[in-house]
Symmetry: C2
Subunit: 425 residues, 2 copies
């Protein structure tokens, strides 16, 4: 695309954002319901375009995992529509008076939640991100510019067309949701220069995309690092509970960022806890990477098949497996656990299982991560689970949004100051 085309698209999005910012919740929610309805009604058109993507994907020999992300069916379209209806049902964050006070000269200061303006969402194969991103942006009064992965371009284009049609139907500006229809990375680069129009970039993709944005974006980005998450089983942990949590944190959904990758075990409880935990994990096909001490503890255990055990290397501790694999290390106490997490962790979700108040306080204060769990699974790091209603991702940066990025995190604020002719002396 020409630079001018991208600038035109940004200009249209910015104009739409100025209209959106003023809309009351009622109008935004009506549009969300309208889009949900249009998605279900026009499912056959969407599925037809999706089949083109799927065929191209097969021809390009995409992996099974990628093909699964790419593929839509009636159920997945209904899920998208339902999630929009859910977003419509949530309270509107815009207009919230976050804080307010009077200053000594009598002026009233209010800090009021407002939309960012224009958000760009850069994503990879999943076509449903089109609908998610559009829904959360609309709800928060932001216009959104979508730039999806080339593998799902047919689907994304059709979904955007359906959304645009529904927006017009609902009396909202069509350009509230814009699509950069391009498979050329140079176009993404051009988009990332448009800081005059775009207020925020949100990536939904892997480390490669993150690195690309870090190199190329002139616009602020909310990054989500991977989650190399740990479960630390302290000396006073309830063993039965700890086994359950370790298993849940690893196997309930191993492919996501809030699943645990390393189990740290206090030396005093290791002999009791580890054989039981390892047996349960191995039973669920988890391959364990063991440090010397945990290996010694498990070596003689006939319940655990040897093929599921390997020696842990430094690389294992540093890896986000996103798979049925888990590293195991015995530590001398909470401080060693904190040290290990500080070295290998990615600041996502970290759990301590303990009944000791001092340990839990030290872990909470000493571990630098978005979410600290005491006696619970790391798997709860999620906007829905937290009760935020919805989320567009999990942030591991400390600026603006940390942890689940829900509706509030998609907003900024402005100060409104009311005086009676006040001047500064």
């Amino acid at each position: 695309m020409q630079l001018k085309q991208i600038r035109d698209l940004c200009t249209r999005a910015k104009q739409a954002s100025q209209e959106l910012a003023l809309l009351p919740a009622r109008d935004k929610n009506r549009a969300l319901m309208e889009i949900a309805e249009a998605l279900e009604r026009r499912a056959p058109e969407i599925l037809k375009e999706n089949r083109d993507d799927v065929e191209e994907g097969k021809a390009a020999r995409l992996s099974d995992a990628l093909m699964d992300r790419l593929m839509l069916d009636e159920d997945r379209i209904r899920d998208m529509a339902q999630s929009l209806r859910h977003v419509a049902s949530l309270p509107d964050p815009i207009g919230e008076v976050i804080d307010g006070w009077r200053i000594p000269n009598g002026m009233e200061i209010k800090k009021i939640r407002v939309p960012f303006g224009v958000i760009a969402v850069i994503f990879e194969a999943r076509p449903n991100v089109t609908v998610d991103a559009a829904g959360l942006s609309l709800k928060t009064g932001n216009a959104v510019i979508l730039r999806g992965g080339s593998a799902s371009l047919h689907s994304i284009r059709m979904l955007t067309e359906v959304i645009n049609g529904a927006l017009i139907e609902a009396g909202l500006p069509r350009d509230a949701v814009c699509l950069v229809e391009s498979r050329d990375r140079n176009d993404l680069k051009k988009l990332l220069q448009m800081s005059e129009y775009i207020d925020l970039v949100i990536p939904r993709g892997g480390e490669g995309l993150k690195k690309y944005l870090l190199e190329n974006s002139k616009i602020p980005v909310i990054y989500a690092a991977g989650g190399n998450c740990h479960v630390f089983v302290d000396a006073t942990a309830d063993v039965e509970q700890a086994v359950k949590i370790a298993v849940n944190a690893k196997v309930q959904r191993p492919g996501v960022c809030n699943s645990a990758e390393t189990l740290l075990v206090h030396r005093e409880i290791a002999a009791e806890f580890l054989p039981r935990a390892a047996a349960e994990l191995v039973k669920r096909n988890v391959r364990l990477y063991l440090d010397a001490e945990s290996r010694d503890l498990l070596a003689g255990d006939r319940k655990i098949a040897g093929e599921w055990l390997e020696d842990a290397t430094d690389e294992h501790f540093a890896t986000e497996f996103l798979d049925l694999k888990m590293a195991v290390k015995v530590v001398g106490g909470v401080d060693e656990a904190i040290g290990h997490i500080s070295r290998y962790g990615t600041g996502h979700s970290e759990a301590i299982l303990t009944n000791n108040l001092d340990s839990s306080r030290r872990f909470t204060a000493g571990v630098d991560a978005a979410c600290i769990y005491i006696n619970a699974s790391t798997r709860f790091t999620d906007g829905g689970q937290f009760g935020l209603g919805a989320e567009i991702g999990i942030s591991t940066q400390k600026l603006h949004a940390r942890g689940p990025v829900g509706l509030r995190e998609l907003t900024s604020y402005k100060y409104v100051v009311v005086g009676e002719g006040n001047v500064r002396g």
Copy 2:
């Protein structure tokens, strides 16, 4: 400097930050008081080093304004010490429970204010930023890496030495305040790659520095754009009040970002308001750049000397004068004013003077800026005036901090989740 030296410095700052994060307010405040005392006690040493900077500056023929920023005296050192004592007296933002709730499975979620970790403050000539930045960082439990302008290197080095000595005296880690002692911009570039150690960059300088950071920083930055601020005098404004506010916004301190640069005047009040306002402004040596309509209104006015009036060009409307200069434009109403501000404004501080509720609501909603004023001067955009206690600058970005950047804005948060063995189903 070698890359390794910069990495070592960052490592030390990060280690210090881990200690700082755990300190209670009492310890941090004691260190602030200790630094204040050391600054006053060691004033002769500081002034001696400052004289070297001043002499080098004279030799390099720095401008008078720059020389004034560079120069320290007993009073200025006392002011620095006093501002540290003031920061010590403020409430500690760290540990604040920002929000908290229970979710349906019984788990308790708390959102707790924590330090960022390591902040890098990049500044230009003013040596007092050394002390300001150190004080605000310490108070918020952050370690700080300072990189000051080369013109004030002797002073900055001495001030850092005094601060480091006082930190040791107070039992805090010396590396809580680190200095990159270098006049080489390549060293700044190296520093801006250290995203593994540094959580946030704050620039205190002009557009050139901002542009450099935008090109080179791999670390999130809180930017402060300049302030091309407007005062819009609506049809129903109290004329006397409006004259006072327009004058205050322009002349009370013309060289700072929250002073007004353009006066927008509603056509219906222009004939009454403009001659009075212009007379007062011209009396205070303000040069006015007039659009055709305001020129016609003022042309016959004998009270206003012609030499203070010029035709306004597009460039005048786009310029942050930071000087006794002001552009003037007559507009048809609040929407035209919003349109003008949206085109030329920098999102800093924008005022409407009105007695019409609808106008004030439309202006507040329609103008996209950090601070909106109704019947008050733009000059109030300031952490101290807002009652935030202290500030390190004014942000015009929308991510994380908008408007005055006070103590709270120098913090992040973490979620702490307490369960009773909860696993995700």
